[in-house]
Subunit: 177 residues, 2 copies
Amino acid sequence: MAGLFVLRLGHRPARDKRITTHVCLVARAFGASGAYIAGVRDDSIRLTLEKIVGTWGGPFSVEHLPNPLGFIREWKRKGGKVVHLTMYGLPLRQRAREISSLGEDVLIVVGSEKVPREYFQVADYNVSVGPQPHSEVAALAILLDRLTNGAWEEREFEGAKARILPSEKGKAVQQLR
Amino acid sequence: MAGLFVLRLGHRPARDKRITTHVCLVARAFGASGAYIAGVRDDSIRLTLEKIVGTWGGPFSVEHLPNPLGFIREWKRKGGKVVHLTMYGLPLRQRAREISSLGEDVLIVVGSEKVPREYFQVADYNVSVGPQPHSEVAALAILLDRLTNGAWEEREFEGAKARILPSEKGKAVQQLR
């Protein structure tokens, strides 16, 4: 894959602020380059991620999308591929290798409550991380883990001001600049 | 491991309802037998999980804990082991095999905001799913994935009323009884 991006659908600030924030944090930590958020505009998510990037490094971008379906169609017209995470889709283990070996940018679409049928239609892959109800945050982490072959465990971020030194019992943070 | 259980610390109903619900749903979907929730009592989480178990199967239990530190000490006294998920801990890849091969019940402790120092001290393992800020929901999913060696992909639940039939484009649900 050339680059990995995440599109979060249907954000509602009151109800979804923390889940959408977790979606973006997971996208960054597990190897995506940026997130697009559709639904009600909520700049607080972008500001939170900018703070995280300021301290722990990047790059990672967050952008509001007024027209997600149009964006996806344009993404595909430019040659990008689209993976839609849904508990109704085909098992990840059946599709992970094929998706990993794509040469194009991959957009991972993550729903909130009910995802309209058009997204199932427009996606190149409807993929499930288990056929059970759980969490878009968890599903995204597992998908990115499989697509990057666990590369998040060693990932270095650019421009970090701080870095954690793993420890057995405490909290150790190294200031870098 | 004999059995896997999750302890969610510091639940605050207004702020954490959805994240704690996702923690419990992930615990169930990825192979834990139950969750304990500490913090402010909030029966809505248990009721949500009972509904999920009613439709999609179990077993999975949710219980409120008034005294989590006392509960952990008692857990250890009975021979159980404790894994605390924290971005400050030792990398999962260094500890996953050792934890998987434990013969005892394992309690996975998942914090919310600031976790008091006592939990770092009492844990047998402080483990990080990457040294980056992201999400306790994602960290739990990846830990359970590693500890169960991906067994969630094939897991069958007991007493399910419905089952998803994986599909390429749509939503197919089979009613079982």
